[in-house]
């Protein structure tokens, strides 16, 4: 089985205060450490587990600048056979643009695949669209938020999709297909520094994204960046016990965990 997994290098923003530069022109990411998108760890691990069991190979593809090589090395250390970099120095904010670029790349380079995996979303933009758009362009079936691959047959998978409130949906998806993989589907193996050093010996091919871009394909654009309204620590709920209970239940309802 040939599986192509898309991996992304993202900035680590937990607990950082982000600064918006210019008059809302961009976000300052210059001093942030980066790492492989958390969801992609699960996607790579799932793909590697499948081929470890049933044979085949995993190819990791990253779209980004040359620093993205880091995530390719990591994927190879986890068990991917190849790593391809689609080198693009500018960030493409529109998921459609990225999907089109990728579609052109897969077609032009004749990449064989039985399945394509992506993570559910990227930690930075959290669009959750790249995989779905790409699947539609490729005219292959799509299942998002896959929390378990229950059966692997020659021509289809049976997968469980994560819904809300602990519920899951089981679907049968024909191959070739595209799955977006949800965190928690597996426990990604630890990648040691020595492991990454060994992975560096495998050649990572670089392709220029400009060779695969359709001009004028941005369907959405960002006009401005803004800060969220300020949060002043915990909003304290006051009143007598009865009032506090009502307020608490109202919050739970609003968050969709209590009906």
């Amino acid at each position: 089985m040939e599986i192509v997994v898309f991996t992304k290098r993202v900035p680590v923003t937990q607990e950082e205060e982000l600064r918006i530069l210019g008059d809302g022109q961009s976000v300052d990411l210059s001093k942030l450490p980066h790492r492989m998108n958390d969801w992609d760890n699960y996607a790579v691990e799932e793909a590697v587990k499948l081929i470890e069991k049933g044979g085949g190979g995993v190819t990791s593809v990253a779209i980004g600048d040359s620093e993205s090589d880091e995530v390719l090395r990591r994927a190879i250390a986890m068990g991917a056979r190849d790593g391809f970099l689609l080198e693009a120095n500018e960030v493409l904010q529109d998921p459609f643009a990225r999907a089109t670029l990728t579609y052109n790349f897969l077609k032009k380079e004749n990449m064989p695949f039985d399945a394509i995996f992506t993570g559910v979303q990227a930690e930075d933009e959290q669009f959750a669209c790249f995989g779905g758009i790409l699947a539609a362009l490729l005219k292959i079936p799509y299942a998002a938020q896959v929390i378990g691959i229950d059966a692997v047959e020659k021509d289809h998978f049976v997968v469980r999709r994560e819904l809300e409130g602990g519920l899951q949906e089981r679907v049968k998806v024909s191959l070739p297909c595209l799955l977006s993989i949800q965190s928690g589907i597996n426990e990604p193996r630890y990648v040691s520094i020595m492991g990454v050093r060994k992975a560096s010996k495998v050649e990572r091919k670089v392709f220029k994204a400009s060779n695969y871009t359709d001009s004028g394909k941005s369907l959405v654009e960002i006009t401005k960046w803004v800060y969220p309204p300020k949060k002043e620590g915990a909003a304290m709920l006051a009143g007598d016990v009865g009032e506090i209970c009502s307020k608490l239940f109202a919050i739970l309802k609003e968050k969709g965990v209590y009906q």
Binding site: V12, E16, R35, R189, Y190, V191, S192, I193, M194, G195
Partner: protein
């Protein structure tokens, strides 16, 4: 590496006899060495019990270095990628943010906001005396008081020092003991490069763990590495730091493994306490090089074992209560963290030595 060393083992059992985990957990170091002699498989969760107290290595009559055998076992598990999730998280956090707590590197110097004077970057100092903060003390609100206190003590004595701030990376002591040799090397390289770049000629550590690895595992530094208790003791003797009052509580001192039995620093913290108390602090029956490990080392801060048993910290608290102590003093942040929960429940408090000193200067 250690495969030949284990052959020297004569199964005397001194290691297991000294081990803080022996008896109450499935961890039996003598048995593990025995299995290694015969190249038998060892259960995957066993190596993670070790607290790296090193008592076994110190006492082994054949220099088998059982604590290194454990590190090798862990390394093998790490290369296989089969390690407990919380250890994985700690290692991955260290790789990305240079501290196992996953806190942002950019906030490593935020503790300096707790003192009311400027603490310069090491490059801005004349004497190039580096105060190495340590990860847990940079980020954990409970422990942040320690670097703040020690800074005050040094500052009041007019001793110049600087910090690396954001450029400080985890010393790697626990990382090496967790078996991630590659990551340890990277941390060491980064810290060494910084020491060199800024011409550091003295390092004052706040954690015995940092001191241990700088002294023993960073090669020939050519830099004097001290635990702050050694430095402050010197300052007190010279009269550079003066104690104005007396600490009136009954204090018992707990020897941290990495300060005491591993690096022979027993007297300095005791001297400081004696000066603050006006009398000697109380002693546990297991003291000095026989001190009872708090079980915080060797990655145990990031990993909870499956077995339920009475923790050493609870035994310590019990003994402290029996002797009528009100405060358990110690000089290691991991000991502080591990002793504090059970102590607070029983109405005792736990203080790092600097916290006591700062109350009486």
């Amino acid at each position: 590496m250690n495969s030949e060393r284990v052959l020297a083992c004569m199964q005397c059992g001194k290691c297991t006899g000294s081990c803080p985990e022996a008896g109450k957990t499935p961890f039996n170091i003598r048995m593990i060495v025995r299995k290694k002699q015969f190249q038998r498989a060892i259960e995957e969760d066993l190596p993670w019990y070790c607290t790296s107290c090193s008592t076994c290595t110190i006492r082994c009559p054949r220099d088998v270095k059982p604590s290194e055998v454990i590190i090798d076992l862990r390394s093998a598990l790490i290369e296989d990628g089969r390690i407990p999730a919380s250890i994985q998280k700690a290692l991955e956090s260290t790789f990305v943010q240079k501290n196992p707590w996953g806190k942002p590197r950019s906030k490593r110097a935020e503790w300096t906001g707790k003192v009311d004077f400027e603490i310069p970057h090491i490059s801005e100092t004349k004497e190039r005396r580096l105060l190495f903060t340590c990860c847990i003390q940079a980020y954990d609100p409970r422990c942040m008081v320690i670097p703040a206190n020690v800074s005050r003590l040094l500052h009041s004595a007019g001793m110049e020092f600087g910090i690396l701030g954001e450029e400080e990376a985890c010393c790697g002591n626990e990382i090496r003991r967790m078996g991630e040799a590659g990551l340890f090397e990277e941390l060491r390289e980064e810290n060494l490069a910084n020491f060199k770049e800024y011409g550091v000629n003295e390092i004052i550590t706040l954690s015995p763990h940092c001191m241990n690895t700088f002294r023993k595992e960073y090669g020939d530094l050519g830099i004097r590495v001290s635990h702050y208790s050694e430095v402050v003791q010197g300052l007190l003797e010279r009269g550079a730091v003066k104690l104005e009052s007396r600490y009136e509580k009954k204090v018992v001192y707990h020897d941290p493994c990495f300060l005491g039995k591993q690096n022979a620093i027993f007297d300095e913290p005791r001297t400081l306490l004696a000066k603050a108390l006006g009398t000697n602090s109380l002693e546990f029956s297991r003291m000095r090089d026989n001190s009872l490990c708090c079980e915080g080392g060797g990655g145990r801060m990031f990993f909870d074992v499956e077995t339920t048993y009475q923790r050493n910290s609870e035994s310590r608290v019990k003994e402290a209560l029996e002797m009528g102590a009100e405060v358990i003093a110690t000089s290691c942040p991991f000991c502080v963290m591990n002793l504090e929960d059970p102590a607070t429940e029983k109405g005792l408090s736990v203080k790092e030595v600097s916290e006591i000193l700062v109350e009486v200067i």
